[in-house]
Symmetry: C2
Subunit: 211 residues, 2 copies
DNA sequence: CCCGTACGTTAACGGTGTTAGCTCATGCGG
DNA sequence: CCGCATGAGCTAACACCGTTAACGTACGGG
């Protein structure tokens, strides 16, 4: 849980002090290094204020010049990640005309992003309240794309329900379930995550098709 | 993240030393108090070795006489919880004859347990690797009950698939998705978790029914 | 040129998991 | 009945964590 008798990561000190008007430079560096630590160590616990400070080449209290506390820092990183997440998915589904086909690909893209960035996904959707206190804008933007896709499916008859919010929430929940377990449980669906994904997407699509 | 300037919980000291052969008495007390703290504080971070020790009325190092480290302690609590979980679900589905009806109720019971014990559920299925390194027995027992239920559904024709493992895994993933988000995101499905549950169970059941 | 202020630093507090080494009573073998 | 091994627990300490208060310092505008 805590480092037993830890060797620490080597310092990368000697960061030059910023010029007068460029205090925000440090902010960007902190965000960058924090995201980097989260990605490489793949362990939220390992991303400590002190580790970030050292990676940036600055002392721990300097972090607090730009972020209220650790939660604030993590939340800022999440904000960034949300945008990446949304862009990643939208790029993968762009150019698909059939709404129901696009919807399935959207699900696959969602899961792929989560599996490729497990610690980020964990912070985004599996952490404690921290992340989601308000800042819903970007998250909503991602959900809005899904919602829009569902509405097009309803319009062309490939989904029978008349409640797009309910359907979209259900779909999100479905892919989150897969992603969440894939991220948390090592041996989950070991012999065929793809098979499970296709199975569930298929079952759910048939269920949505009609009565 | 860390307590700002914390007031501590009052001690409950003066625990009598155990007799010669009854060292395991302390082990049981530790498990009990740990589960209690997890349930009342609803915050894994708040369940510290020191807090547990104080609740039991003993000094922190004494914990290590019975548990290798904090992960080991948490894992032991999980083991207990798994059994409770399984019993809870089995009791709620007992006496339901129609397999497909029982399957749906099984899902509802699963979600209900998770929502009622959010911090336990989080530790069980949303934590890091810790929990699930091996100890699969009890977990398997819960999954085995689900698997059995699915097989009966296939036998009576209410599920078309011929792959009970795939179907059972999918169902588990489905209810986990709901539980996971309900536990993590405060505003999730705020106006109608039950509605969402029924919607998803219904969609999935129809999808499983046949082509 | 000088001094205010932006950009940091040093030192410290209280918290955490964990370990090494100690005390002290208990109960069993002689 | 007594000695002492051993079980049950404690004291003290280490390294790390988030966070704050107080202090330095160099740069650029007056």
């Amino acid at each position: 849980m805590a480092p037993a008798r830890g060797e620490r990561v080597i310092a990368s000190q000697a960061r030059p002090r910023s010029r007068r008007g460029e205090g925000d430079q440090l902010r960007r560096e902190i965000l960058e290094k924090t995201a980097g630590l989260l990605a490489t160590t793949a362990d939220e616990e390992a991303v400590s204020i002190r580790a970030v400070a050292q990676a940036v080449g600055v002392t721990p209290p300097s972090i607090y010049l730009h972020f209220a506390d650790k939660d604030d820092l993590i939340r800022a990183v999440c904000e960034q990640t949300f945008e990446l997440f949304d862009r990643f998915v939208e790029e993968r589904v762009s150019g698909i005309d059939d709404p129901i086909v696009q919807l399935a690909e959207r699900g696959r893209a969602y899961i792929a992003f989560g599996v490729q960035h497990p610690e980020h996904y964990r912070v985004l959707f599996m952490g404690k309240v921290r992340t989601h206190e308000q800042h819903g804008t970007v998250e909503i933007s991602g959900f809005a794309h899904l919602f829009d896709n569902v509405e097009r499916c309803i319009a062309d008859g490939s989904i029978a329900s008349r409640d797009p919010v309910l359907v979209a929430t259900g779909l999100w929940t479905l892919v989150h379930g897969i992603t969440s377990l894939a991220v948390s449980l090592p041996g989950y669906a070991e012999a065929g995550l793809d098979q499970l994904i296709e199975h569930m997407l298929d079952v759910y699509r048939r269920g949505l098709a009609g009565p």
